[in-house]
Amino acid sequence: MSLKIVFSGFGGQGVLMMGYVLAVAGMKEDKHVTFLPAYGAEVRGGTANCTVVVSDEEIASPIASSPEFVVAMNYPSMIKYQNMVKSSGTMFLNSDLITEAPAREDIKLVRVPVNTLAHDMGADRSLNMVMLGAVREVTDIVSGKSILTAIETVLAGKKQKLIDMNQKAVSVGADFIRGSK
């Protein structure tokens, strides 16, 4: 199994962090992982995106030409990546910022109001982990436990409160998916 996922949005939404936590979680499960952030001029102007590949076998290209999953945290990202998603793949949309739908019939859509969910739990900035929780619940790329451990690793040295908050946000995202099934 090899799954490719693109995380995209604008700077400040924690887009790279989402990918990073997922990649660390995959590594914790002894899977092959690659994390490729967009860099240089591409990221000027406030957009951010990264590609994560999680695989049981050695990973050839870290670039996702046709990813199974795309996370779009804002409208420009949906436009940019809508044609790239693999047929029968899934696009995760931040429904607080995206009301439109991609112009494709052959992909699944998962709408998650991450700004609202994060705000309701009193942690506006944890919207990325809310989305990651939702992504994990739908895709099952890694286990929920690995995500929680990965958050501890990634935020090691930071305040416990921040770690708790991010882990809780993952649960909120996962609960949202379970509740909407």
């Binding site: 990073y20 990649a23 660390v24 590594m27 092959h32 992982v33 690659t34 994390f35 490729l36 952030p37 860099y39 240089g40 001029a41 050695e58 990973i59 050839a60 290209s61 870290p62 670039i63 030409s65």
Partner: protein
């Protein structure tokens, strides 16, 4: 930190260099490799015995490398294509003065200012010496995060052992990508073998000179032949490659670095379609691993070099194959990164004898 860590290529290189005893870094900012000097700056700021200078130019930084190497330090500089061009003068001097140093090139699109996307257009420059005069540098081409860590250690060891500049040739993608890495244990630079040739003040011995000027042609000739003998010895020992599914292969892709990973993806796809396709991945570019490639001529009918350039390494493939088998080329220069699907389609046409 002997457990698995997820780190980007440039940081892996920096950490591996420090663990190899590198205590001096001189550089000048250029994308896409800035995270390496940043890593060195912040790591060295926490160390008492390490020197970091952001120089006024690539030219100044490679010359600081000369000074630190002559003083006996394990020293590194890094840049990307246009900056490496500027360093070539200094690299030629390092070669002539037989000074050890590690030079990192995270290649980007060129020529000229080009762009900052991953590319492989500097193969000739890296493997043919690069600067003026009759010399070579050892060139490593890592393709995986773990390989960056391992090759960096090797680069410092070989540089000291052979008193030669060693280049680590990556590209923008190798530098930015994060992969899990297990680092080798750090070594204490104070415990490295003493260098009998450094200039550090002539206390208790006669004074030494490190130079590259030999006005008398027979003396310069002697230097050139001495270097040539050293290069021959290196060529016997260090060529290295990965051979993937080549045992029964009829067509073998030859690719290095990022291109080799894409090629491996193409090999998977070709195998799924029943084609006997393999990958030959040089891990050292100079010396090029020619012998192992030549052996494949026994059963491989077609070699296809795949590069992120208009065709440079393909010349070394042809030299190794010596006309015995068909050698073709597919490439995407300028910072365009092919997909495995794209390369698989090219391979498929070639495999079934169609012109591509």
């Amino acid at each position: 930190m002997s457990e698995k860590t997820l780190m980007r290529g440039t940081h892996v290189l920096g950490e591996a260099a420090i663990r190899a005893g590198c205590r001096a870094y001189f550089g000048y900012p250029i994308t896409p490799q800035n995270e390496l000097p940043e890593y060195m700056a912040s790591a060295f700021a926490r160390m008492d015995d390490a020197v970091f200078i952001q120089a006024e130019s690539e030219i100044a930084s490679i010359n600081m490398v000369i000074g630190a190497a002559a003083a006996g330090a394990r020293v590194m500089t890094s840049s990307s294509s246009p900056g490496i061009s500027l360093k070539q003068e200094g690299i030629s001097y390092l070669a002539a003065m037989e000074l050890p140093a590690v030079i990192v090139n995270m290649m980007r699109g060129g020529p000229g200012l080009g762009n900052i996307a991953p590319a492989q257009g500097d193969y000739f420059q890296a493997t043919r010496g690069g600067g003026h005069g009759d010399y070579r540098v050892i060139v490593f081409a890592p393709a995986y995060g773990q390989e960056i860590a391992d090759m960096t250690r090797q680069a410092f060891d070989l540089a000291d052992y052979y008193r030669i500049p060693v280049m680590i040739l990556g590209d923008g993608m190798m530098g930015q990508m994060m992969e899990p890495v297990v680092f080798p244990e750090p070594i204490d630079p104070a415990k490295l073998p003493e260098k009998e040739w450094v200039v550090n003040g002539s206390k208790g011995r006669s004074s030494r000179i490190i130079l590259s000027l030999w006005l008398d042609p027979p003396k310069e000739e002697e230097l050139n032949w001495r270097l040539a003998r050293k290069y021959s010895a290196i060529t016997e020992v260090i060529p290295d490659q990965e051979m993937y599914l080549t045992d029964d292969a009829e067509l073998v892709l030859v690719a290095y670095g990022t291109a080799a990973r894409i090629a491996k993806g193409a090999v998977h796809r070709a195998r799924e379609s029943g084609m006997k396709v393999g990958l030959y991945r040089p891990k050292t570019l100079w010396p090029f691993p020619s012998k192992a490639l030549a052996k494949l001529c026994d059963h491989v009918r077609h070699f296809m070099a795949f590069e992120m350039s208009t065709g440079q390494m393909v010349e070394d493939v042809r030299l190794a194959v010596e006309g015995r088998r068909e050698v073709s080329f597919y490439g995407r220069p300028g910072g365009v990164v092919s997909t495995p699907e794209e390369v698989a389609a090219i391979v498929s046409s070639a495999y079934h004898g169609k012109a591509n």
